[in-house]
């Protein structure tokens, strides 16, 4: 069993039909030769039709691992899902046999990755790679798959799509490559799109274009989206809700506006304060002191306590539960209300 207490279900009410996608108290370990790393320690979040959830956190906080668990593409070994549920339209995906699981992948829930250059197969033309899903999964003919691939490439605004069908991934620019990746993910019109740091590998100007494209596509195709990122700046315009992850747990969960206005977890506060701001030029940029914890030796109590300016003895001794704040948001901090009300920083 985990050292963490089972936490109450998240604050927002469950709609009558249940959530579209729901992760419940997920625990994942990486079992390696050096020991067991507790990568995910009781993550719960949900996604409703048509909304965008941003999952925010540093490298190693477990945001990508959770997404890969939803997709069922974790490498196991070393990954091992020790407990929890991943419910899609009411069914627990973790209980399904692999063949049924595979049917969900791409068709119901699709995923795009950070680095499109390595995520696309280097030796096949992009048209072939987009069409492969259609031919293999939907049984389309070669010609139909080609036609549909051009449509999809048009949809993601790749210029001269028909001409570029035969080009290889390395012949595209970074932004265009990510568009190919998106076109591929959209091939079977999924209901959920998971975007794992889709703009991290791109130039700043291109980042904005890709984020706009994703937001537009999400709206036009009526998908729900999980946007995984470590960049708070990317999130603000696109997301409805934000889940902040630290050391394999969700430390704060709130709608975008209230989280930006008044963060209720010291970690979120630290993240917001470490964004450079034009109105504070010349001042010293604040940072979060220390390093993320070693997941093989997660600190006792609140895993953030060694780096936390609010830390007291209770933080070392007791794992904080999700505290529900007045406006329907949660924070896993003993001093959530104090942090929320503290405007000195």
């Amino acid at each position: 069993m985990s050292q963490y207490a089972v936490r109450p279900t998240p604050a927002s009410p469950t709609p009558p039909g249940g959530h579209l996608l729901e992760v419940r108290d997920l625990h994942i370990e990486f079992r390696t030769g050096e020991g067991v790393a507790k990568v995910i320690n009781g993550v719960s979040y949900h996604l409703d039709p048509g909304e965008t959830l941003a999952v925010l956190g540093e490298s190693g906080s477990g945001k990508s691992v959770t997404a890969q668990a939803i997709m069922g593409i974790l490498d196991s070994p070393p990954a091992h899902i020790s407990s929890g549920e991943i419910r899609y339209q009411g069914r627990d995906l973790l209980g399904l046999p692999e063949e049924r699981r595979r049917q969900v992948r791409g068709k119901e829930i699709a995923m795009i990755f950070q680095d499109a250059l390595s995520a696309l197969n280097p030796v096949f033309p992009v048209g072939w790679q987009i069409g492969e899903t259609l031919r293999q999964r939907l049984g389309m003919s070669r010609a139909d798959a080609r036609r549909r691939a051009v449509e999809l490439m048009d949809l993601v605004q790749i210029p001269a799509a028909a001409k570029r069908l035969g080009d290889y991934p390395h012949q595209f620019s970074g932004g265009m490559r990510q568009r190919v990746m998106i076109a591929m993910a959209l091939a079977m019109e999924p209901k959920v799109l998971i975007a794992d740091e889709p703009t991290t590998a791109l130039d700043v100007t291109v980042q904005a274009q890709i984020m706009d494209l994703l937001a537009d596509l999400r709206r036009d195709l009526d998908m729900a989206m999980i946007l995984i990122t470590h960049d708070l700046g990317v999130v603000a315009d696109v997301a409805d809700r934000i889940a902040v992850m630290y050391a394999g747990r969700i430390v704060e969960h709130a709608d975008v506006r209230s989280l930006y206005r008044a963060p209720a977890h010291p970690y979120t506060k630290g993240l917001l304060e470490s964004i450079p701001r034009l109105d504070q030029r010349g001042g010293k940029l604040s940072t979060i002191r220390g390093l993320p914890p070693n997941l093989m030796r997660i600190p006792s109590g609140c895993p953030f306590h060694p780096r936390c300016p609010y830390a007291q003895q209770v933080c070392v001794d007791v794992v904080p539960h999700d505290l529900v704040l007045g406006d329907g948001r949660t924070s896993a901090c003993h001093f959530a209300q104090e942090v929320h009300d503290d405007r000195t920083h």
């Binding site: 992948r105 791409g106 680095d115 197969n121 030796v123 096949f124 899903t133 999964r137 290889y168 390395h170």
Partner: protein
Amino acid sequence: MFRFIVRRLLQMVVAFFGTTLIVYALMFAGQGDPIQALAGERPVTAAQRAYLTEKYHLDATGVGGFFYRYFDYISNLLRGDLGESLTGRSIGDILAAAWPVTIKLALIAIAVAVIFGVTAGVLAGIRRASIFDNATLLLTLLVLGIPTIVLAPLAQYFLGVKWQLFPATAGADPDFYALLLPGIVLGSLSLATALRLTRTSVAENLRADYVRTARSKGLPNRRVVSVHVLRNSLIPVITFLGVELGNLMSGAIITEGVFNIPGVGFNLFRGIRTEDGPLVVGIVSVLVVVYLVSNLVVDILYAVLDPRIRYE
């Protein structure tokens, strides 16, 4: 690509003249009296000596004389005349008889490497750290560790002589069955290398990001492995096998020697042993061309297999 091929062909011309010059120099530099060597133990009359001196331009001495004879040889070579061996046979005829045998042997060896090496390599790569993987590691290390000069006689003794599963020697004009055991022995080394290479390449590609993408598209595992992983993994393997086929075509001195197969390596070895200068230089000149051409083919093949490779 066209410019690349032209440049490589020009480089091949330089490489060809360079290697033939070196081999020619080495082979004839050590000889005392080439006319006596030609005659063997028999006495040479003054008239014969004068005729041969005239024929082979032996009157010119020193560096100038050497280059005179070298260019004489090369100009014959370029006209397709490989000259005669010291035994008086046309070297062209010797090679025409020897090469088909060597090619058959090389093809058997490559087939063994592909069928067993690549297949086992793919399985070992997929089931990394399994019993099968470790067993193949042990076996390949063993094969790579035993030199052919030991492996060939052992195989000949046990499989050919003692248990009589295969003919112990091939002899003149050997059939497929007679070449099978030598082919396996010759191929075992390529097999071991191909297996290790395939195994590493498959294991590495299985961890690649594009494999995760292919899985997230909901493709069945067998398609992910047999199309996405294999297509990438086989690029270095096919390149290796191409180079290896080029090597094998130039004959296997030890294997052909042990099993008495009248191939290119067998004749080359005989030429070296009997100090048959013209035969050695003739065979090596042709081998150089075979080797250069096979390398060019492999380079072109590499660009065909991997679209990221572009030659300027």
